[in-house]
Symmetry: C2
Amino acid sequence: MITKQQTPSFLPLYEQIKRLITRSLSDGEWQPGAMIPSEMALARRYGVSQGTVRKAINELVAENMLVRRQGRGTFVATHTDDGTSYRFLHLRNLAGEQAYPQSDFIGFGRGKADAAVARRLGVRSGSALVQIQRILNLSGNAVVYDDIRLPAALLKGISSAMVEEHVNAYRGTLYSLYETQYQIRIISAEERIRATLADARVAGLLGVMEGMPLLAIERVAFTYKNQPVEWRMSYVNTENHYYFDELN
Amino acid sequence: MITKQQTPSFLPLYEQIKRLITRSLSDGEWQPGAMIPSEMALARRYGVSQGTVRKAINELVAENMLVRRQGRGTFVATHTDDGTSYRFLHLRNLAGEQAYPQSDFIGFGRGKADAAVARRLGVRSGSALVQIQRILNLSGNAVVYDDIRLPAALLKGISSAMVEEHVNAYRGTLYSLYETQYQIRIISAEERIRATLADARVAGLLGVMEGMPLLAIERVAFTYKNQPVEWRMSYVNTENHYYFDELN
DNA sequence: AAGTGGTCTAGACCACGTA
DNA sequence: ACGTGGTCTAGACCACTTG
């Protein structure tokens, strides 16, 4: 029998199991959308009881890294195909519905990180970035302009055509592109929201008057171990939509 | 021994326990800040095992209705005194710190619910409301103007002097006022955020130019069983602060 | 020392989905 | 029929807090 004392570390067993599972996820042993071994199989593999594996998995489910499906198994969360594709999109129309967005590709390019973006992404100032610009349409109206930047080192071989094809595809999210083409899985994100005025360029893209008040949302998206991967600035026209947040 | 089949409902046992605990909370059997019976005591009281009580409590802790303190006991969450007083305040300064706010009382009054507010509060249009206006200062600057409304029926006997004293008090939050004086405990809230332009009145109160872009945050706060209790509109100057949101 | 929550186990049985 | 996750139990021992 394995007891807590025999383990090298002083962490609770379920915490250690949690980290072992996380490592298998980030190492790619279990791919997005795939089923991981059953609780009993993992218990045997790690030499602990099913209850301990269960507790570890429960916490990973709460963190949206795994998905349980009763009677079928436990699966690696994915940004492709399932209903959770837009779980980071907090915009709703005035009726309170979260309409599915449709993207329009605007531009693709390369540039260097300024100090602010470099700091958020944890890279050196001036390092190479990939940039993507697009419009999000909700209910047929241009509502969001996105300016997106990622370290170029993470997306070797990316091209404008690839991005354009994926962005314009039906329900093609960028996070599913990162996941399927570059083995980068977005787990969490943080957003900083301020109010701003539309400048001439953004006003033109969103079809509003210059000087219109907009939300300016800075988002940093993270992969495993809280490593920042993507930075974006979103400008949102809130005439017919709002940002929705639940507080607990 | 009690088995699942003997229970009148088909809900899992821990769900039933959860509801029984929630009822004791909303009935006031256990007051805010007080310790609830130990897991073993509750297990005996409800005729289930400790593990089942534990699971029920775990979920209530995740919903911020209870707080565990190892070695001491499990306590009813409160908006008074402990460090969670401002857990709904998502504003940070540009350095990323969540400074503690200081409130300035602006006004108190009574009015009638318009259609929009009545809908959010689940009351009839035209029913009596209490209104409170105040300014929140962060790091010494007026950053937020709040216009707050509650059904008058919930706050019988409230007076301008009571509110003014409480609002201006050191770290006196309105939610602790509701809790201590009116037995209303705020459990959760939802916020709808839009961008707007400062009108002359709000600009004057916040000390900014008319036409400055502001966040307009509509908040509805709920007590037990998702019953809406308070509506407020906050206007936020985001020159030196931002709204921070974590996505999972 | 006593009481509390925190961890872990072993085993039973149920509910669900697939073959 | 079988395998999966979901619930529930009983009991052991640990870690922390207070008297």
